[in-house]
Symmetry: C2
Subunit: 233 residues, 2 copies
């Protein structure tokens, strides 16, 4: 099946208190979304609308570092100004998710308090206003060990399971697959970023023609790897 | 711009010595590819066509482990049957990239010897036969620390730079972006996997409507993070 990714246009700047769901719906309407589509929204506009924004004492590195330390529950690595930290959600990322890019001057944007909940709220509003409920994913841009260059991943989802579970599935030779769990939520986030870019002003995209696993999944519960299971923490 | 991902159909099983480029071109023709498109091909058919396949002494774990050890230049972690190892290409992945799924019984598929070269060869054949040269990426499915579920990444590219370098770019407030290097090759691999799946028989996809950075990039040189720069090795 052909997959199509449409950028949501015309949304513009988002500020604390803005009705982001309403803004997304106004842009979505002309695309006539269906319940089989997936709406990917970058966390930055979600955090801004929800007020997950802090005012910095100044624009220097010390003020930034202070916010990072307060958002981190554990620091995994430090090198120069770079901190790789675990957030209270269990995400491991640079600067505990604190980001000054595309934030108003003198402020920094934090991660949403509960990105799965943010996704559910947006989905509920879409269902209420448009009568259809596409799955929703909230994305952010993360670095990774061993590979240069960042990729988008999913921080929260609603209306879909984030993992395709192939355990027990057999290949064309009848052998059980070695690869058993595909993170389709992260792949959708990465795909959606291809139409967004970092300075384009596009904050959301609609993915059509993809089959997502049904269910009310959660990134926090289904994707964040418990420390005991993790080989690199 | 709307992004479109078309699966390449009708390719079927690939065996050592098969003319994979010819098979891809036969399937591509009806899509009328342009030089602005990106063709993503899963490494498994590339490895099979190139003969990067080994015969196992038997179908048990010992024979598999022996191949994994011979493909690994360094083991980072071990737990039970799982080995996270660095390959001679510098990739860090499960089982040093050795995979028995979708391999003929009694065999295992290795990584291509030089995936950037594999991508270049496919691209050169497409240019020679169709008169256009889409970028080409070779993909594989990798796990990651901290997050459950695998995602596709790029092992090799041709006709594009794998990293979008935004260093020095400013955001809407005029501040220099914190996020500076986007791995568009990995995002393309993840996006293409959305139309492939693991048991669907689709081994390649054409991505249209994306702007990739020009140049003759290399995953090995531009994406593999040198150990000295890596915080998790």
């Amino acid at each position: 099946m052909t997959l199509i990714i449409e950028p949501l246009t015309g949304i513009g700047e988002v500020s604390p208190g803005d009705d982001l769901a309403g803004m997304l719906i106004a842009s979505l309407e002309s695309l006539a979304p269906s319940g089989a589509d997936v709406l990917v929204v970058t966390h930055k506009v979600v955090s801004k609308a929800e007020g997950s924004v802090v005012t910095l004492a100044d624009d220097g590195p010390d003020a930034h570092r202070e916010v990072v330390e307060s958002e981190a529950v554990r620091v995994l690595r430090r090198r120069g100004d770079l901190v790789i930290a675990e957030t209270r959600h269990g995400f491991v990322c640079a600067n505990a998710g604190v980001d000054r890019s595309n934030a108003a001057l003198g402020t920094a944007v934090l991660l949403p308090e509960d990105p799965d909940r943010s996704a559910r709220r947006i989905r509920d509003r879409i269902r209420a206003e448009l009568g259809v409920a596409p799955a929703v994913a909230i994305s952010d841009t993360f670095g990774r060990p061993w590979r240069r260059g960042l990729v988008d991943v999913a921080l929260g989802v609603a209306g879909m399971a984030p993992i395709i579970d192939l355990r027990g599935t057999t290949d064309s030779s009848g052998r059980v697959l070695d690869v058993t769990e595909i993170n389709i939520a992260d792949q959708l986030a990465a795909a959606a970023d291809l139409v967004m870019g970092k300075a384009s002003g596009i904050c959301a995209a609609l993915v059509r023609g993809v089959t997502v696993p049904p269910g009310d999944g959660s990134i926090r519960h289904d994707v964040v790897r418990p420390p005991a299971e993790d080989l690199f923490r």
